[in-house]
């Protein structure tokens, strides 16, 4: 073990491609190890999982040996040996053992992360030195103990069955998938253009009408399938959370049980990646602030272990991810007091729960009495909201004192397509995300009034909502008529947008507009090609100010 801590020096010129492959493969193994370890924690006798984790370490070792990544190969070897003893029933696989596997996996991940960073050029090329000797010592100590429970009659599997469960899959570059989805989007548009052009002839020509209908069906199906290629189950993110819950609970001396539902719910892989961060913040928040200590829970007549539910499901063309804890819930009075202290609310203001809960998403807002190393610094929830809004989704909160808190993320299924509400202003069409539109109505006389110096407001069922005349805001001459008001959710508050007409709802493929346009008008989130081939601009309602 003398060279255990000798740094790794990458040779990108000769090994670059191999290293890339190795990093991709390793990430899969790291995931497999982590999931396996968590599974073993609950079912220590699960031989299949044990074997699968063992194989992952083994492959890790093999690749590292081939590429001369000495510390990695030694680390993987140590962990493999440990698991081998467990496989042979010579070592009881208990909590400290699982802990070792997880810590070892984290060390391996550090190596892989650094290799990855240097490969992609995110970090300068330099020797990678991560000390593993301490950890190797721990493994050896664990192996030396060998408490050896009486060997079970079950024969230990010696030759692991190789990849029996792996289904036939092909690895495809995500860039190719993205361009496929783009092309299919264009095909959809072309198809609808042709359909419009031939509409008049189709009435007189049943053959043409049939063929057009068939083409429409096939293109729609093609789009559905091509989008589904990018769809992955949310399971991966949920499993990450399982690890976070486990580690945080241990660190905070809290007992936490995580129950997940709907792990098979699928969404666009681009979204999955960006969902992990906000969820992580929310889970931390739930464990840190939401759940009480076991003692406090007992005193309140609750079970010692707090329960966190993580649920995902599809709903009305979007995906809903819920995080619910059964902790102390949000403290209405404390949040209100804090909001008043920060000048966000008038002292003694009568606010609905919904409005009060939104304060917790304000930057720098934290009612935590002590700052922990996890959360309570007032960063977190505002970042969560921003991230979710960037994904064109929104966060809802429900809570009651002593009843815990429910965070509900409402997200679109994919970033490639938006369910849009097409509105007309001054003869041009604009697209609002349907997910953010709450309702629409024709303004009745007396509904709109002007606050001097503050702009116009709409009185909607006793609620006062600021209003923006979109035409005026954009410097476009609106059409004559009283127009129609669309109520949209912008961050914590509602906003009324006055437009000329509400045309229809349509799924559109999102295209980027050039940087120069976005810089000059940040409320243009993108563009889409509408049914007639013309461009409609997608509005970012949060940037409309």
């Amino acid at each position: 073990m003398s060279d255990a801590d000798s740094p790794i020096v990458l040779n990108l010129e000769s090994d670059g491609d191999l290293l890339k492959e190795y990093v991709i493969e390793s990430r899969e193994h790291l995931n497999n190890i982590e999931q396996g370890a968590l599974m073993l924690e609950e079912h220590p006798d699960d031989a299949d999982t044990l074997n699968s984790v063992f194989r992952s370490f083994h492959t890790f070792k093999g690749g590292a040996g081939f590429l001369n990544l000495n510390p990695i190969s030694q680390l993987a070897h140590g962990l493999e040996s440990l698991l081998d003893l467990a496989r042979q029933q010579k070592l009881a696989f208990d909590a400290p053992g699982i802990e070792l596997i997880l810590r070892g996996r984290d060390l391996l991940k550090q190596f892989i992360d650094q290799i990855d960073a240097q490969l992609t050029g995110a970090a300068p090329l330099s020797p990678i030195a991560i000390s593993i000797s301490d950890f190797m010592g721990k493994i050896e100590a664990a192996m030396a103990v060998q408490p050896k429970p009486e060997p079970s009659p079950r024969p230990a599997e010696t030759s692991a069955p190789v990849s029996a469960s792996e289904s036939a899959t092909v690895k495809v570059d995500t860039g190719k998938l993205d361009s496929l989805v783009d092309l299919v989007g264009e095909l959809m548009i072309a198809q609808s253009l042709v359909a419009q052009d031939t509409n008049s002839q189709a009435a007189a020509n049943p053959q043409l009408a049939r063929n057009m209908a068939q083409m429409a069906r096939v293109t729609r199906e093609l789009q559905r399938v091509s989008l589904s290629l990018r769809m992955v189950p949310i399971r991966g993110v949920f499993q990450k959370m399982a690890r976070v819950v486990r580690d945080l609970a241990a660190r905070q001396n809290k007992e936490v049980q995580l129950i997940t539902e709907g792990e098979e719910t699928e969404l666009d892989r681009n979204l999955v990646e960006q969902l992990a961060d906000p969820l992580l913040h929310m889970v931390r928040n739930a464990i840190d602030h939401g759940l009480e200590s076991p003692e406090a829970r007992e005193a309140r007549g609750k079970p010692r272990a707090g329960v966190i539910h993580l649920r995902a499901r599809h709903q009305s063309g979007g995906i809903i991810v819920e995080l619910q804890d059964d902790g102390q819930g949000l403290d209405r009075e404390r949040i209100l007091a804090k909001a008043a202290a920060k000048g966000l609310a008038e002292p003694g203001a009568k606010l609905t729960d919904l409005e009060i809960w939104q304060f917790i998403f304000t930057p720098g807002f934290s009612t935590a009495q002590e700052v922990t190393d996890l959360s309570g610094r007032g960063v977190g929830l505002d970042v969560v909201r921003r991230n979710i809004e960037r994904l064109r989704g929104r966060v809802d909160v429900e809570s009651g004192p002593g009843q815990g808190t429910l965070f509900k993320l409402v997200l679109p299924l994919t970033m490639a397509i938006i369910d849009g509400l097409i509105v007309m202003v001054g003869g041009e069409r604009y697209i609002l995300p349907t997910l953010l539109a709450r309702e629409s109505f024709r303004p009745r006389p007396g509904m709109i009034s002007t606050l001097p110096g503050r702009g116009e407001i709409v009185n909607l069922r006793g609620r006062v909502i600021p209003m923006l005349r979109l035409g005026e805001h954009f410097g476009i001459q609106p059409e004559a008529g009283e127009g129609i008001i669309v109520v949209v959710q912008t961050g914590p508050t509602l906003k009324c947008l006055l437009v000329d007409q509400l045309l229809h709802r349509q799924e559109v493929v999102i295209k980027n507009v050039s940087e120069t346009i976005r810089q000059r008008n940040p409320s243009i989130a993108g563009a889409a090609i509408l049914g007639d081939g013309r461009v409609g601009l997608i509005l970012d309602v949060n940037a409309l100010n």
Binding site: E428, H473, F474, I476, V513, T516, R520, N521, I524, V535
Partner: protein
Amino acid sequence: MKAGECSIAEAPSAARPGKYLTFVLGGQSYGIDILRVREILRLIAITPVPKMPPHIRGVINLRGKIIPVLDLRAMFGLPAAAGHDRSCIVVVQGRQADAAGALTGLWVDTVDEVIHLSEKDIEAPPDFGRRMEDQPLLGVAKSGQAVKILLDLDRILRDQTSAPS
């Protein structure tokens, strides 16, 4: 803008002999390097973008790509002309072919012709007493009786992409 001026100083641009596409703006003929021209579009609906300076006319759908369209009249301080059936959009390629916004449309009155210019046809831009660095000009060319102004495309595209001042 400082960085932009710097790069001009490093690479003094001059009109090279070769083929040029000429178009007309307010009666004057202009030429651009034909190698940068991707295609010429007629009668295509431009979607105006709110809150843009006058020289950004809007965006168009170029076979599924959204590209910005510049109004050269507004850029050169010429009076705005109503669109008529001979107006065209000349789609040009930016220098960085990889960038997403590499294609840009130039809205012109009419497209004229493709001319071949040899070294002797091209002259340096005349000194109008103003600082020439402010103008997107590469030179002037005589073709028959007419004088054609050769434009610096990179300059035009860069001005368009630079942040509003």
